[in-house]
Assembly symmetry: C2
């Protein structure tokens, strides 16, 4: 690999994730009726084996506890170092050279109003002896009445992602939509987490600039569409029964994240930043 | 194995788990100020491979949604059949003959009042070409102020189990207490689930009657001590901050059950009764 070129690429990606974070936080804050804002907190990655002095990267959490958004997290991170023996065999391109770099943004938004859907988005760039992008976004309506493919929120969410995909490759949307449906599924409930979106990984078309541009468009699509969807829902009236339905649906979200989500389990079992990883947990939850 | 003798033993154990269920439900109902009662629901075990006509056992769920006890489940089950290839190698005595029988009781109690601790208890008898008992009970105080080994609730809970153990073998309490502490631990939080209790498995001393008598005493100890502890806490005053602390502590309980509990994961990933397995989830939960 051309080290100088890849250093530039890492820098470009990290700069982008930060810009995207700033744009999304600003847009969500603009919907807060009483001026609630994100609180930012930096963290440094620590290696269990090391003495703590080594620079292994870190990240910035941004958490919002507002009126419109009961809980929202918009996190960026840039981490690097050397994979453990165990992970060398599991990560593409790491078997012979265990050094890695990973930068990304991770977003989870739990609105207060049960009429507004929960949403998740993340994109990342990973570099070993190979380099690739991954990520996606998906929507989880809280009320059964909104959990249909032809509900306006889901129609608009998918349309935004389809447009972002189609700009780059007409195969992307159908492929990445299917991967999303497969991934965000709860076998023990025999139900999907939500109404889908797109999900992709190991994207390396051979044209880094094109893959980066696509990943940027995936982020832009989310910033464009999700706040619009939230905006038309967050002031609708709702009753206690709807709030309870929302809190039970959030329970399914918890079940997915703790039982099946690879990122969550990977992070928790390998000494990741627990506070950041579990910031995706919904704020209030019910199980019948 | 002497089939007639073991059929008698299975019947004795199943009868006992039912008696214990009845005694515990009655005792908890007696603490309900407005007469809330357990609702009972029977279920039949289904085998994914079979046509549904085969008798594979089943169980009875008993759920209480009361004033004193926001949510309590007291479940009994008696299941039997043939282990899949995968499980033959994982279960003692099943490698050469995959037939099994398992009977047990499983209890989880989430009181409404944050001053009252959550408690869990289960005991079971398993028969393959071998036969053994397993189970235990553990306490999870909700408030940090009560999460100490010298808090009265924990002192009394451990004393009851120590007395039950010491009647049978002076090694039992220290051994089973240690196993409990090891098992109910959240590595990603570096904290225990609660303040412990006892936990044992594969108990086969060579004297079935003695092992059964011990398992009965483990159940009796719970019926004797837990309602007493709850009784002195369920009417204490509490404020919203304490309620929030309780709901966040319950979040840790969810994390343990979905990330680490072998019974939960085993059940969910092998087609167990989802409703019964996840009835252990706390009723209302918060994550900050």
């Amino acid at each position: 690999m051309d080290e100088k070129l890849w250093n530039q690429r890492k820098q470009s990606a990290a700069d982008w994730f930060r810009q995207l974070r700033d744009a999304l936080c600003a847009r969500l804050e603009s919907l807060e009726p009483e001026g609630a804002v994100f609180e930012r907190k930096a963290w440094q990655r620590k290696d269990h084996a090391g003495d703590g002095s080594e620079d292994l990267g870190g990240g910035e959490m941004s958490m919002l506890h507002g009126q419109a958004f009961e809980k929202a997290g918009v996190h960026i991170s840039t981490v690097y170092g050397v994979f453990s023996e165990e992970f060398r065999k599991q990560v593409a391109g790491a078997e012979d050279d265990p050094r890695f770099w990973a930068g990304g943004i991770s977003v989870i938004i739990h609105p207060t109003n049960p009429n507004a859907p929960t949403a998740h988005m993340n994109t990342r760039m990973v570099v070993t002896t190979k380099g690739w992008f991954g990520g996606g976004g998906d929507l989880t309506p809280m009320l059964d009445a909104a959990r249909t493919p032809d509900h306006q929120d889901t129609v608009d969410f998918h349309a935004a992602y389809k447009a972002a995909c189609d700009k780059h490759d007409s195969d992307y949307y159908p492929r990445f939509k299917e991967q999303c449906d497969k991934y965000f599924f709860l076998p023990h409930r025999n139900e999907t987490r939500g109404t889908g979106g797109i999900f992709y990984d190991h994207l390396d078309s051979g044209d880094w600039d094109a893959d980066f541009a696509f990943t940027q468009d995936v982020g832009r699509a989310f910033v464009d569409i999700y706040p619009e969807i939230a905006k038309r829902r967050i002031d609708l009236p709702y009753d206690e029964a709807m709030r309870h339905e929302q809190m039970q649906r959030r329970g399914r979200y918890v079940e997915f994240n703790l039982l099946y989500d690879r990122g969550t389990m990977f992070g928790l079992k390998t000494g990741g930043n627990v506070e950041s990883i579990l910031s995706s947990m919904p704020p209030t939850v019910m199980w019948k």
